[in-house]
Amino acid sequence: MFNFETSLGQASFANPIFTASGCAGSGRELSQFFELTELGAVVTKSIMLKPRSGRATPRMAETPSGMLNSIGLQGPGIDIFLEKDIPWLRDQGANIVVSIAGESVEDYAVLARKLRSVSGISALEVNISCPNVENRGQVFACHPETARAAIEAVRRNIGGELPIIAKLTPDVTSIAMIAEEVVAAGADALALINTVLGMVIDTNTMRPKLAGKTGGLSGPAIRPVAVRAIYQVHEAMPQVKILGMGGVATGRDAFELILAGASAVSIGTATFGNPTAVMKIKEELKAGLIAHGFDSLKEAVGYAHRVEGNL
């Protein structure tokens, strides 16, 4: 029997294919196409303290093998989220990873306190790739001090066993260095990677296409960046579990991230092109692992790092 189970921190999952935060709505929209229990986990859209309108439109631009988005974390805020979305997901029997985002270190602390006693959540993904209003809008995950402060705030306030997965941006000089900081600050696992900062200029209007000017690049275009980031971080800290993401569209791609060091894989942009992408990827990955002779997913994690000469 092939063993598809995986874990991140103390949390276990029946299989390693998750949705990516912000790419699966509230879960309801996708549940029309497949059962959410089929997923390793649903990762919810990053939720903030207060309701948020998000950025003005246009919010997206297609790019070669990818897309740019600047949603700006639109959402109902933590209270409505806990009241409406979580109970529904729990009723579905879905394995839930909640993603949170803050504008200040205090935001992260409050969000963690609001979540500490919520039942039915497997882990917390802490999106620190968002602008810090207390520091000229600089992204938390871009600097070791702010990355550390945000994760420490969550660690101190979350209590108990809920694993913290810190989600990092690749837009830094050394992602391994930031990874080491957040692990030191209390992260149990890492989510790699968030989108890559990019811009598209509309050559008709001759202005940035997105109302927010810059946006996050996702999709297959960035997969080599994700693989590199996961490989580097797994090399630096092989003991820390990684939730990989970035441009995965096939089982082969998910396998690539797993070989680099990911213990689970989130699917974002691929779902926009194909609502059943996650199910296809899950089946292809399983078939691929078996074809390569693995008895379990866990054996394949980081397998590309084995010493030269070995099979």
């Binding site: 709505g25 309801r28 207060k50 439109t57 919010r59 297609e62 949603i71 639109q74 109902p76 109302a211």
Partner: protein
């Protein structure tokens, strides 16, 4: 807030026919059961570019009409303007080719329970969904007037059987190559008054919809319009397609045009809000 159209399904749909009509391509797909569930105003989302495509997102097209062919399965038709790479690719696919298609998506035009006097206004390929709507309205005993506008004759989509389904058809082009010279909005006031219009249904470019809404407001006529926002997923999971819409509670929210639209009540839309979040929008700061 609504959820995704509960009838939406994903199929590999074979192209049955693909013909150039003026500036557009009229494309017919074999879609099986979907044909029975599509309503005027709904749209389809199609994956473009083939197996090795650099285009990762679906393209949205209004459903022109559907047929249930019984045993031979249902047909679904769309009218495509070759715009950029994706729509151009679609217009180049030959019959027999299969595309990955999701339908029906989005909201539909609301159909009055009483026979009313309806005015249907279409801009460019925006006329497509109006013919199916017109048939439904006629079957409900409504009087249907139609106004179609475009920059030039080639961009008026008005097939013969479509024309026959309305009580009156007025065509307006900016360059006067067919019909009256001008914009659709030039003729609306007269028709509303003369024909005592109760409701306007519209589909076309945002600027046109906004101008129509101005007129419908002035005349106190209900206005349902099918809006067209840039969409990445079409099924409500990406939040790219939003626009500010005032709810029944008076609060403006950024709603998804793919599941709370494309058909919306014109009076609830905060028009001309591209590149800004209107003041007071829920969660704005």
């Amino acid at each position: 807030m609504m959820g995704i159209n509960k009838n939406a399904v994903q199929v590999m749909a074979e192209i049955v026919s693909n013909k150039k009509v003026g500036a557009y391509n009229h494309i017919v797909f074999s879609v099986g059961d979907i044909a029975n569930h599509a309503k005027p105003g709904n749209f389809v989302a199609i994956a473009v570019g083939g197996a090795n495509s650099a285009m990762v997102l679906r393209r949205a097209f209004a459903i022109y009409r559907t047929f249930d062919k019984g045993n031979s399965g249902g047909l679904l038709e769309i009218v495509v303007a070759p715009h950029g790479a994706g729509s151009t690719w679609l217009t180049n696919q030959a019959p027999g080719f299969k595309v990955d298609l999701i339908a029906p998506l989005g909201t539909a035009f609301g159909i009055p329970t009483q026979p009313v006097r309806a005015l249907l206004v279409g801009g460019g390929y925006g006329s497509a969904p109006l013919f199916g709507l017109s048939e439904v309205l006629k079957n409900r005993g409504c009087r249907v007037d139609m106004v179609l506008g475009a920059s030039t004759a080639m961009k008026i989509y008005a097939p013969l059987d479509g024309k026959r389904s309305v009580n009156s058809l007025t065509i307006v082009t900016e360059d006067g190559t067919t019909g009256l010279t001008g914009k659709v909005t030039d003729v609306l006031g007269d028709i509303i008054e003369t024909n005592e219009i109760d409701i306007i249904y519209s589909c076309g470019p945002m600027g046109m919809l906004e101008a129509i809404n101005q007129i419908s407001s002035n005349f106190g006529v209900v206005h349902q319009c099918a809006i067209e926002e840039s969409m990445a997923c079409g099924i409500g999971v990406c939040m790219t397609c939003v626009l500010p819409i005032k709810g029944e509670d008076g609060v403006v929210r950024m709603l998804r045009s793919c599941i709370d639209g494309p058909v919306v009540d014109g009076d609830t839309v905060i028009w001309n809000s591209k590149r800004t979040i209107p003041d007071g929008t829920w969660g704005a700061h």
